[in-house]
Amino acid sequence: MATPIEFANQLREKFGELLSAPVEFRGEATLTVSDPGRIVEVCQFAKGTLGFDMLLDLSSIDNYGEDPRWTVVYELYGTGHHAHLRLKTSVGEESSEVPTVCGVWRTADWHEREVYDMMGIRFSGHPDLRRILMWDGYPYFPLRKDFPLAGKPTELPEVAFTRSAPLEGGPFVTVAGGKDAIAREPRVRNPEE
């Protein structure tokens, strides 16, 4: 049975400089696709030739304050060889658009809708890119790092939650490298400040 790193090397042989050198951490292999526009091509090869027939998960990271701002993470799995492989691709804030992989794995449909809903990254060519967890017409992207945990007021009457909940920014909320408990009061922490 091939290990994740062997699959990663096979992908890299095929695509060369498009992919970064595989990073191995805790037995998992991660490859970064330098051009987000060619992610579909890489995925198609991984599915068709390397047997990664299942897309387990598709998520996104907000590298707030860095460029490129968004990273989309694909967690691939092969039901035949039981190996995992992670693909990543980054895209800047001005385009915020990645081609959809719905044509490769149909499960990507809902995953991509969720990424769009939570972070506002669009997927070009997606058949039905609507919000999925939040309601239609909700104006923000709540998983972005510049969206406060307390929520934001909205124009929508009686729909959006606007007041801070007791937990937010409170003494039990810890952020790595953040302020200590005394400096964290008052309770509502706003990342924009």
Binding site: F25, R26, E28, T30, D53, M54, L55, L56, D57, S59, I61, D62, V73, E75, T79, H82, H84, R86, W105, R106, T107, D109, W110, H111, E114, M118, R131, I132, L133, M134, W135, P142, L143, F147, L149, F172, V173, T174, V175, A176, G177, A181
Partner: protein, 427 residues
């Protein structure tokens, strides 16, 4: 009054003769418009707050649009704002029918990130497996009971709930809570099992096998149940993989993928059990797979109870957590007397366990499917990003593909056989 001559005795032949005689306009009238029906979010067979918009032609579904998110609480956002251990209680509320299994899956992901997943003491690992399998039995009992109730067999539900009550009692004596257990911590467990608990689980297992057998006699050969589930909601092997189904829903379609076998974690590789798979991929197969999984869980549990290091009363004082002040909390008595322990306690409580930068994905075989956690860490006590791969969310994505072509009443069977939990789906 004019007498009507009956040319055809058979109603189907009569109908086709009428259609043949009618003009095109008449047929358009007959067909009429399609009906859009809103099912849920508050409907007994949607098991929570799933809403499905179904477009129907007569009683046949032509299009289905599921609408999820009514129970969205922003768990992933919350996770970014607290330490790893603080998030454990939130995992109770994902799949709230199997909180123990969620606790275990989450801390295993964090431990994988920290590279300490192999260092958990054996007794702790066995206890975690016992937790997972008890949770599986509990979740499947409810899933089957509710499924049977939805298709008209109320007795089964009452039957399986009798057993679930016993599992809750076991949870209560183990963790102090019946429902929101929060039993695990990064590096181990909150406490060892109380005296007599192992014997109580053994007694429960003897009872639950009888109950499973009785429930099975009520369903497996029940004509009504079989008629409503067989060949309904058929998912082919290829389609199931393409839509990323996991757990009993995937195995019902004949794909032999169980995380416990494919990528074993804890002590699963030392335990003997079989993975049941279906052959057709219909609702009935998914039911049979769950039924057999409960039996296999009983089998796993019995092996664990026999082999658990330290035995029932733990006379040899086997630890259940890693004995490292940088990972787990030191004993309370030492915190109040020792300087070093006090510092460790203070650091873990205020800053959290110190995880290295990096990213991991860990998937565990939960009752509903593969519950995965993707953690992107930039070091320190809080995750930079924590993505929850909720099996219920992914499993429901296939509904627009499966529902069309079925009758209205089949939705109930299909939803019941999917056995999803909205708390996990919406996160």
């Amino acid at each position: 009054m004019a007498t009507q001559t009956i040319e055809f005795k058979d109603p189907a032949a009569r109908a086709s003769a009428a259609v043949a005689a009618a003009s095109d306009d008449d047929i358009q009238d007959l067909k009429g418009d399609k009906l859009v029906l809103n099912m849920g979010p508050s409907h007994p067979s949607t098991h929570g707050v799933l809403r499905i918009l179904v477009e129907m032609d007569g009683e046949t579904i032509t299009k289905a649009i599921p609408d999820v998110g009514y129970l969205h609480r922003g768990d992933e956002k919350i996770a970014e704002n607290m330490t790893y251990n603080q998030f454990v209680p939130y995992t109770d509320r994902l799949d709230y029918l199997a909180p123990l299994a969620n606790n275990v899956a989450y801390v295993l992901a964090v431990e994988k990130l920290m590279g300490i997943d192999g260092a958990i003491p054996p007794r702790g690992q066995y206890l975690r497996v016992i937790c997972c399998e008890l949770a599986r039995i509990s979740a499947h009992l409810l899933g089957l009971g509710a499924f049977a109730m939805d298709v008209g067999a109320l007795t089964v539900f009452l039957h399986t709930f009798t057993e679930r009550e016993k599992i809750y009692n076991l949870c209560e004596s183990l963790t102090g809570a019946r429902f929101t257990t929060s039993y695990t911590r990064v590096g181990g467990l909150t406490r060892d099992c109380p005296p007599g608990w192992i014997q109580a689980v053994r007694k429960f297992l003897d009872e639950v096998v009888l109950n499973i057998a009785e429930s099975e006699t009520l369903l497996t050969r029940n004509r009504i149940f079989v008629d409503r589930t067989r060949d309904v909601g058929v998912i082919s092997r290829q389609l199931a993989i393409d839509y990323g189904l996991t757990g009993p829903n995937l195995r019902g379609s004949g794909v032999d993928y169980d995380v416990r076998k494919a990528n074993p974690y804890l002590v699963y590789k030392d335990l003997e059990f079989d993975v049941p798979v279906g052959s057709v991929g219909d609702c009935y197969d998914r039911y049979l797979v769950r039924m057999e999984e409960m039996r296999q869980s009983v089998r796993i549990l019995r092996q664990c109870l026999d082999r658990i290091p330290g035995g029932a009363d733990n006379a040899s004082r086997e630890p259940v957590s890693i004995q490292d002040g940088k990972v787990t909390l030191p004993p309370k008595t030492k915190v109040l007397t020792g300087m070093e322990e006090l510092i460790h306690q203070f650091m873990i409580v205020t800053q959290g366990v110190n995880a290295p930068p990096g990213e991991v994905y860990f998937g565990a075989e939960n009752p509903k499917g593969e519950l995965g956690f993707y953690i992107h860490s930039r070091g320190g006590g809080t995750p930079y990003r924590l993505k929850i791969r909720a099996p219920s969310f992914v499993n429901l994505g296939i509904l627009p593909e499966v529902l069309p072509g079925h009758m209205m009443s089949d939705i109930v069977s299909i939803l019941g056989s999917f056995d999803f939990v909205m708390g996990e789906c919406d996160r």
